[in-house]
Symmetry: C2
Subunit: 113 residues, 2 copies
DNA sequence: CCGGTATATTGACAACTGTCGATACATCGA
DNA sequence: TCGATGTATCGACAGTTGTCAATATACCGG
């Protein structure tokens, strides 16, 4: 039998969903998606994300000054974004290097279609 | 002189921003964008949005049952979504009819590019 | 004008969140 | 090994948020 016609958006834990405007979301789909949008629902995290995007690869210590937040706060926000799958981090020596996850953003764009 | 090359995303209050990944966001841009994403950062609101999208035009009273929430709660969520510009409401007699604002969703998609 | 109905607002409360200081952990250079 | 540095975690606290019962407001039919 043929696969579903509408492209499904891949979320964490193997949960998928059709684009927002195509079919009503199920409970777990909505919960999963909301987690990602909630991660974007904070000005500091949005600016953090755009800083990492602009730099390509940015270490945590280089985010404190431009964002004007303490080190624990930066660490908190990077964790939230990483948990949402929007950021990926690699520890290099003492430094934690962060990069954008383009596929994740693209999945979000698809979910808004 | 030529206009800016990158398309700007239109937000409330005449605030605009370049796509997230193109240039670091300014403070007010981030605050404005975060408000919209925060509106999407709740499972009930995401399901509400998808219900309205599926129905084309849906009245508040038809949302209580499928969402399993009280009438004041539905009213609260529609207000949050409307404030974020994602939903537009028109009072018809006793009923409040809600519709999606496609341009707003498209602007969000553009901001994620 | 009155009773019924759809919606908005208010007040209250528990749960969550953003923030920072203090502290612990990890890694490097000397 | 030791001190310095970058990061994560913990504890605390103020502010925000999702929820509902109660109430107020708006609108319709008779």
């Amino acid at each position: 039998m043929a696969a579903k016609r509408t492209a499904l958006i891949e979320l964490d834990d193997g949960v998928c969903c059709a684009p927002l405007l195509v079919a009503p979301l199920a409970d777990d789909e909505a919960t999963e998606l909301a987690l990602v949008f909630a991660a974007l629902g904070d000005p500091v995290r949005l600016r953090l994300l755009s800083l990492v995007a602009a730099g390509g690869e940015v270490c945590s210590c280089d985010l404190e000054a431009p964002l004007g937040k303490s080190q624990p706060t930066i660490s908190h926000h990077t964790k939230v974004l990483a948990d949402a799958g929007l950021l990926t981090g690699e520890k290099r020596g003492r430094w934690m290097m962060w990069r954008i996850v383009p596929d994740r953003l693209e999945a979000l764009r698809a979910a808004l279609a």
